[in-house]
């Protein structure tokens, strides 16, 4: 009988299995062998055998390494330490095969060989090494042009969609902004000094492929402020082709009801369009974002840890996003100063805004209140629109 009957069951489904992967590595790596044993023990005892926290980091850095120690070093000596190393990924996760080979080889030499691509922060995640290996790993990475990512109460590794590298919808250069912010905030990334973590995520358009609105304290989402570009000949092509039912698939699904279609002509009331991208996604050859492009800035998303989950909400409806991004960086400085001063221990920026009220927050960081900042527009039953009166 196998030593690990419980976790063996995780190999039986039709889907890929991390147990299979760990077993394959266990043939040549002693850490992986003990990892299986420790994991089996956790399944049996119905509790984790990892201890959280403790000293982390390499010399001078307070982030990038997540310390893990097991509570059973006598039974499983090869995983008594099992630290995670976060490596700052390239903007939009573009690697060549040489880079991937280098990272994997490094990890087989200094760690368990197990990786996780990519962590939800965005980093290239290397799982499982010992304290004495941390400095050699860091030195090797640095010599090859890599750096550690964030962890703890710091700026986490910024991440972005592939934007202008391959997507026609991109309204600003996400990859350039991501690279720029990563360099600008080196100190904040490596020397944690905030009340808690702070994440930047960048999407080139409201499709928000990196889910920044749900996963970052500061979401930077591409948008435009003029009219959707419309090619009427291409609209006709879609209509004739029969693959798109413009009335039902496009117009009826516009969330603001700002489109109309009379069977031959598509009209958009752009003032009422909220840039949701739906119509553009359905008819990309006929419709595209406007020409006056930039980004909106949202604050406050987080997963449930101390308090419940939040989505980001708008604080700047439109800002031009061009290097050197001074207006944006100035805003961030004011936001951090305020958070630093008034944020409670382990309080994310979104939680602080809820606590003190968005109106107060906006005033404190020196912005004018705008209707676009309202978190749930058109949902307040106590507002009466003129059109309702007209019906009576």
């Amino acid at each position: 009988m196998s030593d690990t009957p419980m976790i063996d069951q995780l190999e039986t489904g039709p889907w890929p299995s991390f147990i299979k992967d760990i077993k394959r590595m266990a043939a040549k790596n002693a850490m992986c062998k003990d990892l299986l044993g420790l994991l089996e023990m956790s399944y049996k005892d119905k509790r984790t055998h990892w201890k959280h926290g403790g000293i982390v980091g390499v010399r001078g850095y307070g982030g990038g390494i997540i310390g893990r120690y097991s509570d059973s070093p006598e039974k499983f000596p090869n995983v008594s330490h099992f630290h995670t190393v976060r490596v700052n990924q390239p903007s939009a996760w573009f690697y060549n095969t040489g880079a991937l080979r280098y990272l994997c080889d490094l990890w087989e030499k200094h760690g368990s060989g197990l990786t996780n691509l990519h962590g939800s922060t965005g980093d290239f995640v290397m799982l499982g090494t010992t304290t004495d290996q941390l400095e050699p790993i860091f030195t090797d990475l640095s010599e090859h042009g890599w750096d550690l990512g964030g962890s703890g109460s710091d700026v986490r590794t910024p991440s972005c969609c592939n934007g202008m590298a391959r997507c026609e919808f991109a309204c600003y250069d996400t990859m350039n902004l991501c690279y720029d912010l990563t360099n600008e905030y080196q100190d904040e990334l490596h020397r944690p000094a905030f009340p808690y973590k702070f994440k930047f995520k960048m999407s080139g358009c409201p499709n928000d492929c990196v889910a920044s609105i749900a996963r970052s304290d500061c979401s930077i989402i591409g948008t435009w402020r003029d009219d959707i570009q419309q090619d009427n000949a291409a609209v006709t092509e879609y209509a004739k082709g029969g693959k798109v039912d413009i009335a039902n698939d496009v117009v009826a699904k516009c969330p603001t009801g700002c489109m109309s279609w009379d069977g031959s002509k598509l009209s958009i009331d752009n003032k009422n369009c909220n840039r949701c991208m739906h119509c553009i996604n359905v008819m990309p050859k006929a419709l595209r974002p406007g020409k006056d492009k930039g980004a909106m800035i949202l604050l406050g998303a987080k997963a449930p840890i101390v308090q419940g989950a939040l989505l980001s909400s708008v604080i700047v409806p439109f800002i031009k996003m061009e290097p050197p991004y001074e207006e944006f960086k100035d805003l961030i400085r004011r936001i951090w100063e305020f958070w630093d001063e008034h944020g409670e221990n382990r309080e994310r920026i979104g939680e602080m805004i809820v606590r003190i009220g968005k109106g107060n927050f906006v005033e404190e960081i020196g912005l004018e209140p705008l209707p676009a900042m309202i978190k749930e527009p058109r949902s307040n039953p106590y507002i009466f629109y003129e059109e309702y009166f007209e019906e009576e």
Binding site: I55, G57, S80, R191, Y196
Partner: protein, 81 residues
């Protein structure tokens, strides 16, 4: 103005006084140091610089306990391998 050495020395003393008793974090420490010297004598930036030097000299280290903490260098109790 308090000198960098004075700030470093007080900051170190504070962390030492918490060792084994309380997990202390950067915003809290910063506040305490500024309160000690007075805002006219010591700014947030000065504390940041002092902490940076103490970390680079390895007199203090970063730790993690529900967020980043500042600690005296030590061997983890659980690192007995």
């Amino acid at each position: 103005m308090a000198s960098l050495e004075e700030i470093k020395s007080y900051l170190f003393q504070k962390v030492e006084s918490y060792a084994g008793k309380k997990q202390v974090k950067v915003p809290h420490l910063t506040q305490e140091v500024i309160e000690h010297f007075g805002e006219a004598e010591c700014s947030k930036k000065d504390v940041k610089e002092a902490l940076k030097e103490l970390i680079d000299e390895e007199k203090l280290v970063y730790g993690y306990f529900g967020g980043t903490t500042i600690e005296l260098p030590h061997v983890e109790g659980s690192a007995n391998a």
